[in-house]
């Protein structure tokens, strides 16, 4: 029994970390800027193909690609912000949603043209390996992806809470107009924030590619999971994304261990509905934009 519980906890945490990294960028952009970035999963897909390209062409390990992806996708995010988001950020939220949806369709179609719809997998030394701790078997790839997720979450939290720019971004998230009146360069901070969100998505794509098969048209599944985590965690702090993701991972793993798999997602969504009916803002959320 102890072994079973330990297995559930270990696998649940690893799965939760996978969900956390998939949801992080979406949570940041939604929480601070109020933009529902449905193109989030398209950037995850681009991250996965970046990892594949770097591995095949330059033999760069996905762990290194994870860190390479961050600045690349930060720049991509800042450019997308300048070209698209600035035109819709002050408009009604529906317009932003449509613009992001259009971007998602565009990226997915370009991805299909460039890479076709064939499924890809990344296999490196640790892809099929595992770590055995007593009776517990922990797969290396999710473990590494989980560690990368923790590193990214901690780095973002440190940035947002311990740097001047981070504090300014949080201030902007709480009240954009007040920040503007205090002379804060809101446009620049928004570009940084959007860049960070897209950088997180790109890096998540690299991490997810270490574990899961991927294709241009299948990464949309991560959007559903990311929304689930963000809705459950609430538009709150960075760590609330982590907490809700871990909760989802643990519920899923525990339900799988004790029930037929048919019921697992049902239980997950019933739990989500129950939590949201008790706390409308999610587990640790706040009423308005804040991180």
């Amino acid at each position: 029994m102890v072994t079973t519980v330990a297995g559930i906890v270990a696998n649940g945490i690893l799965l939760g970390l996978v969900y956390a990294i998939a949801a992080l960028g979406l949570s940041l952009i939604m929480g601070v800027m109020g933009i529902i970035n449905v193109a989030h999963s398209a950037f995850i897909m681009l991250g996965s193909f970046l990892a594949l390209g770097l591995l095949e062409w330059a033999h760069i390990d996905p762990i290194a690609s994870f860190f390479i992806a961050l600045p690349i996708f930060f720049v991509v995010g800042a450019v997308v912000y300048r070209l698209i988001v600035t035109r819709v950020e002050r408009a009604h939220q529906t317009q932003g949603l449509i613009a992001m949806f259009g971007l998602m369709v565009l990226i997915e179609n370009l991805g299909t043209i460039a890479w076709t719809t064939d499924t890809r997998v990344i296999t490196v030394g640790y892809s099929n390996a595992n770590l055995t701790v007593g009776p517990l078997i922990i797969a290396d790839a999710p473990l590494i992806a989980g560690v990368l997720a923790v590193v990214l979450i901690l780095a973002l939290r440190l940035f947002l809470h311990s740097t001047m720019v981070g504090r300014a971004i949080r201030a902007m998230g709480q009240n954009r107009d007040a920040a503007l009146s205090l002379g804060i360069n809101v446009r620049r901070l928004s570009a940084i924030m959007f860049g960070l969100g897209i950088a997180s998505a790109g890096a998540a794509g690299v991490a997810l590619a270490m574990i899961f098969p991927f294709a241009p048209q299948t990464q949309i599944q991560w959007l559903a999971w990311a929304f689930l985590i963000v809705v459950l965690g609430g538009l709150g702090r960075v760590e609330s994304t982590l907490v809700s993701a871990l909760m989802v991972g643990l519920i899923q793993t525990a339900a799988t261990a004790f029930l037929p798999f048919d019921y697992v997602y049902l239980i997950l969504y019933v739990a989500l509905a129950t939590i949201l009916s008790v706390r409308r803002q999610g587990l640790r959320g706040v009423a308005r934009r804040a991180i």
Partner: protein, 405 residues
């Protein structure tokens, strides 16, 4: 003078006639007249763009070949293949267009049951035959009563039949007895598991083989993590694992099994022909020893099979993908049926097809009343970095390695 002129003219005319005859015999056959139009759709963009592009390449290859040989019924052949964007509703409107506007003489199905199933009622309501190298679906075939002509040589209930036939060839003590089955919640794999009207299906085959199903789980589309399922199978000491899912699921299950250190004696990705796809070798060690299935193999003495294998080799494939075989086979059936029946009349073609044998890359096909070819299957095992035929015995390229390495 007139007599001389007549003699000269007769000789001249004979010479011209002989020259013409010689020209006809020496020149390649050249079709004339209104082209025969073969219509269909493929998901050239969208979810099925990858396989659909290969279908299109095969179609183009065949079209070139058939027109070089003089076309069909002495007429050139034209193919009108629209892009259905992998979407059933778009495919439906395009088939209406093919029938009503383009007046296509013969119709080819789209790729996958998801899109193909949607266009069947349109085709059948116009009393057309559907030449189907695009999808399986035993219930669809049966409902169409022979108006859908297939080229997949095994339908969903028989997907695991070859595997259990292989087990029968093993000594009794070597045969695995505890079966775990993972099935995607999708109508197609569910029939692979359950069969139809009590016939076929993995569960029935397992029972007939004297095995016990110790884990029988189904998972929804978009399932991200199979660790729990794999641990259940491992805890139940299942020595044969059947993954009845779509390619992405099967790749993920294969990797999870490897990561979890689970070594069933047999692991079959029996829900699709995923082990013939280019992604399979990329799994590395996780691919090794896994069993899969396909329609035919280049070592079989089937018409043009080595030619198609070479065609896909040139396209970078190590293993001929199953869809490459069935897409060419259905065109061979179409060609031989039109040539044999000497008509485009759909009823006459149907009668001809259901009563004759066709020599194709998928085998020498004899049709059943429901339009499906009689059963044949190849069981593959991925050994030492490549697929080997392990059943049927007469086509073995390697002995099966059971338990898997």
């Amino acid at each position: 003078m007139t007599q001389l002129f007549r003699i000269i003219r007769r000789h001249a005319l004979s010479g011209v006639a002989m020259l013409l005859l010689a020209t006809v015999h020496l020149a390649p056959a050249r079709a004339a007249g209104t082209p025969i139009v073969i219509g269909g759709t493929l998901g050239l963009t969208g979810a099925f763009a990858g396989p659909s592009a290969e279908y299109k390449a095969v179609y183009d290859y065949w079209l070139n070949e058939v027109n070089k040989k003089g076309g069909l019924l002495g007429r050139p052949v034209k193919m009108t293949i629209y892009n259905d964007e992998s979407t059933p509703t778009i495919a439906q409107s395009l088939y209406n267009r093919l029938i009503d506007t383009d007046h296509a003489d013969l119709l080819l199905s789209p790729y996958t049951t998801f899109v193909g199933g949607a266009i069947v009622p349109i085709v059948l309501s116009h009393h057309k035959l559907l030449f189907n190298g695009g999808f399986v679906g035993i219930n669809i075939f049966r409902a169409a009563r022979g108006s859908i002509i297939g080229s997949y040589t095994y339908q969903e209930p028989d997907y695991t039949r070859g595997l259990f036939e292989l087990l029968k060839t093993l000594p009794e003590q070597q045969r695995p007895k505890r079966v775990a089955i993972f099935t995607a919640q999708n109508p197609f794999p569910l029939v692979v598991r359950d069969g139809v009207n009590g016939q076929g299906g993995a569960i029935n085959y397992a029972k007939a083989a004297g095995a016990t199903v110790v884990v029988n789980e189904q998972y929804p589309p978009g399932t991200t993590d199979f660790t729990g399922l794999v641990q259940k199978a491992k805890a139940a000491h299942a020595d044969i694992l059947l993954e009845l899912g779509l390619p992405d699921d099967s790749l993920q299950v294969a990797r999870t099994i490897q990561q979890q250190g689970y070594k069933p004696a047999i692991f079959c990705v029996c829900g699709s022909q995923v082990s013939t796809l280019p992604a399979w070798p990329k799994l590395g060690a996780a691919a090794e020893g896994v069993i899969g299935t396909t329609v035919s193999w280049p070592n079989q003495p089937y018409r043009d099979l080595s030619k198609i294998a070479a065609f896909f080799k040139r396209r970078g494939y190590e293993t001929v993908p199953t869809y490459g075989i069935v897409s060419y086979a259905i065109l061979q059936v179409l060609e031989q049926a039109v040539d044999g029946a000497k008509t485009l009349d759909q009823d006459k073609l149907k009668s001809y097809i259901l009563s004759h044998e066709f020599h194709t890359v998928a085998g020498d096909l004899k049709y059943q009343a429901d339009g499906t070819p009689a059963y044949s299957e190849i069981v593959l095992q991925y050994l030492h970095g490549k697929n080997e035929v392990v059943w049927p015995k007469q086509f073995q390229t390697s002995k099966p390695t059971i338990p898997m390495p």
